[in-house]
Subunit: 516 residues, 2 copies
């Protein structure tokens, strides 16, 4: 029989160098394997004998001109016929096939770029060609999670600035790249770690109101109580396609969308999906991740917020300086103008922590509400001014006044309304969690410290960001003098067991320090 | 409702610190997820809402007093009821439950030992307590494959001899330990990499015939064309339990079994399962792996074969010396007497490469057949002599003569027959592959080199070890002078497409070098 039809004698697998292919019929399955690609084969499969898979469970599927890699499971029962391949939902959608369609199956050939792992373990530096191949194969999901992990750990602390540059360049090339016809495209980004720090949702409408383009993509929270995308989703739809995103930016001057449906630096999404569960967060990966996304989005000038504080990602100015220089080195070499700003990361920004509470803060600032949190307003104005300074038509020293003016006049608020309308209605019906608990000062005195990690953790325990209405409402800041029994912050939630855990955690360590 | 019954309001998951548990009914599924533990939950599950799993898909299952970790998939269709948990076959067996039995489910709490990964990435050394906890959690399958990968890569080239000792000690403690009532227990091990090097199957019966105990556990091949267990399986059953293994050794003085069903250093099995697909093979892990298995098996004296050659694992004497010292340091500190022997790893040993061909060589040597491969016989005698030297009753300088005597007299052969009978009949009906192809010398002259990796690769392509009768029969060795057209080796196989790949690969590079 022919190796191309894979009929009755069973095609070989793990030990075959290339080319052994069989054809199976698609059977969609009511299974969700999350982001992992999994396929099911019958124990009596016509094309791949399970005993051949002892060495590796990875297979290559080809359909509709696309090839994807997947991990195999075997169906013993009546779930599948021998000439069928079972596709759980994520893979069925990704392949774009119909039930009964033919799919070609072959044992996965390990991509040549995997040699980069061995090279890094051996202490070698990788050249640009290798790093480009790594980024491309990451973007094509050709590496297993274990391989991605090995690469990340082997690179941790052993990656030169030149390699970081090469990886960033490769990551940009491995995805789409937005072009904006020579117009001035700006953005603002924060490396994260400070609860409530939602300045992007204020900076973007100010910048758009001024007339510059700001096509902002952002991430959802994984370890924090809210990502920019989670908070924006309280106000509008955020899962826009690349084409929809472009239309919003063309119409409104800015957007604030989730990066998951656009193909900007897709290798970064793969790296992040492994970094997050492992809590690996190296400066080199952070630089490659942020800058590849921005450059792929067509950004020409970036203002970068690096908060420094005892519970922030950057604990001291030495670490901040090192990171700033790495950002500047890579950005400059890729033609991105960057301004790095060190900010106060000693405590949360604004009052709300959690999607609904943060969205409320943002809208209060945009509406010039007298009770709007002043720290969030002032930080957003400062950052917006640095962004507006990119405009050659704005006289030197005028940027901050211009940002303030656009906010005070309601122009930024109108700009935000337009962005929300263009992005579409939020799929959520998010309201503030009805369960409330106030955490009280145990002694009188001045607040001397607020632990960002602890506050973030309590907000997460209360249910944020999955429960958008859960979170923490902060009532005092460093320097405030409180009396014993004064409420320091309020925990909100809607699920009683989540809420109980958050209250319990706050009772063990509330995150506030009060001097005696 | 109570957090312990998990009835109707849905229990929280990813963000919960501990203790949130729900109970589901077991539904066994006709699915095989290989060694990975996978569970299926209904999209409408009573105890764990899928949207809660966004951060981590890992859950803890408790049943029959055992807790195991698994990765979640979601069933959307009619596959599962909301109060059921679907268990694929490997996990169903591992939990030891029946259909309908209750299983407690909770989001997995990350084990504290995971901090070791961060510490190694940060360049710190781990103390014995930490390494013991790592080994215990590895053995209990509490680490994901990604976490194991991160640990291995972070340790690669950054592990001190003291840490290797601590890890080895922890790995021994995390499994069973065989005791032999103070009797002299010996073993012989090779670090691998040389095709056909099946001396263990000759050394074990010689040692047993002499009267010492040699409880040998060995591995199956993953990247080589045959492991000791694969070759032994041609002759006898090898998947013995710990109790069965002990009985064979008590009866016959030795055994040669597969290590996969005995619980000796189970953490090693987990590490190896990740090292192999990633081809990570560091000296430190090799030492911890081999020595933990031997000490757990109750071995008191070990003879270790380190082949050195241009295509062997050890390429030069410097690398071999470093490895020898590490083996000696760890073994001595754990009370294991070790003798390391450097051997010639320039070319394959014996004639056969692949289970059936190797078993044939072994039985020919044991039967004193005139055509038996002399190199295999002499190497086995040399190693057996080093092992027999452990016997205090054997006068100095007599060991080699004694080994030769036991082989020549047929005592070793009778000992092997007894071991085979005690282990039971082989489940295989393995015969030499009927397809044959001779690889011919392309020029006349002396053979100057044989590439071990290439020969191993061709034997694997031909189907070994999955197809036990596939492999390579080597007809010439280094130093032989061949004529143009003389057969250098013969490829055997039974699957025509496998066979064709092997023949094609041999045509590209046959692995033999002939001087002109």
């Amino acid at each position: 029989m022919s190796a191309l039809t894979g009929k009755d004698d069973g095609l070989t697998a793990a030990s075959v160098p290339s080319g052994a292919v069989g054809v199976l019929k698609v059977r969609p399955l009511g299974l969700d394997s999350f982001r992992e690609n999994v396929v099911l084969l019958s124990r009596c499969s016509h094309v791949l004998r399970p005993e051949r898979l002892r060495g590796s469970r990875r297979v290559e599927l080809t359909a509709m001109g696309r090839t994807l890699l997947a991990t195999t499971m075997i169906a013993d029962g009546a779930l599948l016929e021998p000439d069928e391949i079972g596709l759980p939902q994520p893979l069925f959608r990704r392949l774009g096939v119909q039930a009964g369609d033919p799919v070609q199956l072959a044992p996965a050939r390990p991509p040549a770029s995997l040699a980069a792992i061995r090279a890094k373990v051996d202490g070698l530096a990788l050249d640009d060609t290798t790093l480009a191949a790594v980024a491309r194969d990451l973007a094509d999901h050709r590496w297993s999670d274990m391989e991605v992990t090995a690469f990340l750990v082997a690179c941790a602390r052993f990656m030169s600035p030149e390699e970081t540059l090469g990886l960033t360049r490769g990551m940009i090339a491995a995805g789409s790249r937005l072009r904006w016809d020579g117009r001035l495209v700006v953005d603002k980004h924060c490396i994260g770690g400070i609860p409530g720090n939602r300045t992007s949702l204020i900076v973007a409408p100010i910048v758009a109101a001024h007339g510059l383009l700001m096509p902002k993509t952002s991430s959802r929270a994984i370890t924090s109580p809210a990502g920019t995308a989670d908070t924006m989703e309280v106000l509008a739809r955020v899962d826009l396609s690349e084409e929809e995103m472009r239309r919003v930016v063309e119409t409104c001057g800015a957007c604030i969308v989730w990066g998951g449906r656009v193909n900007l630096s897709p290798a970064d999404d793969v790296l992040i999906s492994v970094e997050r569960p492992l809590s690996i967060d190296t400066p080199e990966q952070m630089v490659a991740s942020i800058l590849s996304k921005k450059i792929a989005a067509g950004v020409g000038r970036l203002v970068l917020d690096l908060p420094i504080g005892p519970s922030a990602k950057l604990r001291d100015s030495r670490a901040a300086l090192r990171l700033r220089k790495l950002f500047e080195f890579v950005a400059t070499n890729l033609g991105l103008e960057i301004e790095v700003i060190f900010t106060d990361g000693a405590q949360p920004i604004g009052r709300g922590v959690g999607p609904v509470l943060e969205a409320r803060d943002v809208m209060a600032v945009l509406a010039n509400h007298p009770a709007a949190p002043a720290d969030l307003r002032e930080k957003a104005i400062r950052l917006a001014a640095r962004v507006l300074d990119a405009d050659p038509d704005l006289p030197g020293g005028r940027a901050e006044a211009r940002a303030r003016e656009l906010l005070d006049s309601g122009a930024a608020r109108r700009s935000m309304d337009a962005i929300i309308e263009a992005q579409g209605a939020s799929p959520l019906t998010a309201v503030l969690g009805a369960l409330e608990h106030e955490v009280l000062a145990e002694r009188p005195g001045p607040v001397t410290a607020v632990d960002c990690l602890r506050i973030a953790n309590i907000a997460r325990l209360a249910g944020a960001p999955t429960d958008a209405g859960a979170g923490v409402e902060i009532l005092h800041r460093i320097g405030d003098v409180v009396r014993r029994g004064d409420p320091l912050y309020r925990i909100h939630g809607s699920d009683s067991s989540d809420f109980a855990f958050a209250v319990e955690a706050a009772g063990i360590d509330g995150g506030f320090r009060i001097a005696s």
